[in-house]
């Protein structure tokens, strides 16, 4: 059933929207490798990013973001609970989403598949800008479930890979040719008045008040322009349209594609020791790299690559269920989950810094590099079968580290080599 539903993002957590009590708070980022996707829903009235997200019953939320998400072909069930008062559940102000993954069977079953999209089959991506839809993607993968030992040990393997070109648009307010030459006589503020440029060398205290004078004619003399600033200005590209208001807002717009490389791999082994004792162990991870092209028409060296980067997640889990008697079940679950991301890539062939290449020391990184890693170790509940209440205990440890670039480092991208 899940396999036949049209799901553009191929993220099983988006199926929660089929529940009328679930309200979307998604941005454009719904794909499984965007860790905000699973938590950006309001469930039963509770705010988004405050619910809990589970994979195989184990929490994968790290702060407001989720981490690992299975592939669609590796998903067997998605459940939504609006108000989970059961002691089994926590970390939530209300909603709980759970995705259950597939297990192997005695017979060999599986799939091999390919998905594709081509720009010629698509309508324009945005009718307000008439930007053509440049989505070009290739998704392929496969699954296989079988028994290592009949009726006792089962295995299920899943793999999926993406190669995608995604359409993007950006708007900027770029300096006009006059402004780059120091002439602000035509520049207006939002109220329609002159955008006055003051001479900092005229600052003085008069009767306890700080005063300064504007440049004559709102013109900055060429001799006052710093050589370093002129080099910087030389890298700034020109606007190509008037802008949406009198200040020239959004006087430059660009349409481009963003490249994406993603793979998701998972393997689950189920052990049926006896009819009353069973267990599974699962290893799952995905790796994602986003490549944003340098869309500046002059291939500017100060291009700020804010949207490229890497997004990775890892989830290792184990589960043991012992049915002591028809009224008492003992269930231990434990999992390790983590995610890491960085924002430091441009298009293939124009990479200016890579996360693996010492991101804290590279001189060519745009913005900040963060690598949070958290490690919850939930050991879950004792459940005494209905109608008795269940109890739960969840010891967890967590750690997070973030490396931020020095504020003295300019937010610019100066290639250190031709790579």
């Amino acid at each position: 059933m899940i396999r036949n539903a049209p799901i553009i993002a191929r993220n099983p957590f988006t199926l929660a929207l089929l529940n009328p009590a679930v309200v979307s708070r998604y941005t454009a980022q719904k794909n499984p490798f965007f860790m905000w996707a699973a938590s950006s829903v309001e469930v039963g009235g509770a705010q988004n990013v405050t619910g809990d997200v589970l994979v195989d019953g184990m929490p994968v939320m790290l702060g407001p973001k989720s981490s690992y998400a299975p592939t669609m072909d590796n998903t067997t069930e998605v459940t939504v609970q609006q108000n989970s008062v059961d002691a089994e559940y926590g970390h939530s102000s209300g909603g709980v989403l759970n995705v259950s993954m597939k297990s192997g069977t005695n017979e060999l079953h599986g799939t091999a598949y390919y998905f594709g999209r081509h720009p010629k089959l698509n309508a324009v991506s945005d009718p307000t800008t008439r930007v053509g839809n440049l989505v070009r993607n290739h998704i392929w993968g496969g699954t296989a479930g079988h028994a290592w030992k009949k009726n006792r040990i089962f295995n299920f393997f899943a793999y999926e890979q993406w190669r995608q070109q995604d359409p993007r648009t950006e708007q900027r307010r770029m300096m006009t040719a006059l402004e780059k030459g120091g002439d602000f006589s035509q520049s207006r503020n939002s109220g329609g008045g002159l955008r006055t440029i003051y001479d900092p060398w005229t600052s003085r205290l008069v009767g306890g008040r700080a005063l300064r004078d504007p440049f004559q004619g709102n013109l900055i003399p060429r001799s006052r322009l710093d050589p370093g600033a002129l080099k910087f200005l030389g890298e700034m590209w020109d606007p190509h349209r008037p802008g949406t208001d009198i200040t020239g807002r959004d006087n430059f717009a660009a349409g481009f594609t963003r490249g994406l490389r993603y793979h998701n791999i998972s393997n689950r082994t189920d052990f049926l020791f006896t009819d009353s004792l069973r267990s599974f162990f699962r290893f799952s991870r995905f790796r994602t790299a986003l490549y944003e092209v340098n869309w500046a028409p002059n291939q500017s060296r100060i291009f700020n690559n804010a949207n490229g980067g890497a997004m990775n997640a890892l989830n290792v889990s184990g589960d043991l269920v012992w049915t002591i008697n028809p009224r008492t079940v003992l269930n231990f679950r434990s999992n390790y989950t983590s995610w890491g991301r960085s924002a430091m890539r441009t298009a293939p062939g124009r990479a200016i810094a890579r996360p693996s290449a010492a991101p804290t020391s590279s001189p060519s990184v745009a913005g900040a590099a963060t690598s949070p890693r958290c490690t919850p170790w939930p050991m879950r509940f004792w459940e005494v079968g209905p109608p008795a209440p269940s109890t739960g205990i969840t010891p967890a440890t967590g750690s997070a580290s973030a490396r931020w670039r020095s504020s003295a480092t300019p937010r610019s991208t100066i290639p250190t080599s031709g790579a």
């Binding site: 539903a5 454009a28 598949y113 089959l121």
Partner: protein, 118 residues
């Protein structure tokens, strides 16, 4: 900004005006003044959201245990424009108009799929 009229219009249009921009006026004087504008205006709201996705699939049995599936998926089949909320910046020339798509929406996209089941 101050309100000088009724912002509600009878025929809000996602391709045109969603409310009456002439009902508001920019106050160039930036001195402090107590807010008198209401927090919301009855009858003034953003454009709605409509979307239809559709799959068409055909299975071919290759052997007793192996099937081949071809599927065509259409996302936003009717190519409906879902607009974001209109601009609420009184100084913007697009004040009152929808200037971009709602987040997470796109024009019609088709996706083709082949799958072998065993």
């Amino acid at each position: 900004m101050e309100v000088i009229g009724d912002p509600k219009i009878d025929d809000p249009n996602k391709w045109g005006l969603m409310f009456n921009p002439a009902a508001f006026r920019f106050i160039p004087d930036n001195s402090f003044r107590v807010r008198t504008n209401p927090r919301s205006y009855p009858g003034v709201q953003g454009p709605g959201y409509k979307n239809v996705d559709l799959n068409l699939a055909k299975f071919f049995r290759l052997t007793e245990k192996i099937q081949l599936e071809f599927k065509m998926e259409a996302y936003n089949l009717m190519n409906t424009f879902s607009g974001a909320d209109p601009s609420t910046d009184v100084r913007n020339s697009a004040f009152g108009r929808v200037i971009r798509m709602a987040a997470g929406t796109q024009g019609r996209e088709l996706q083709y799929n082949a799958r072998i089941h065993w």
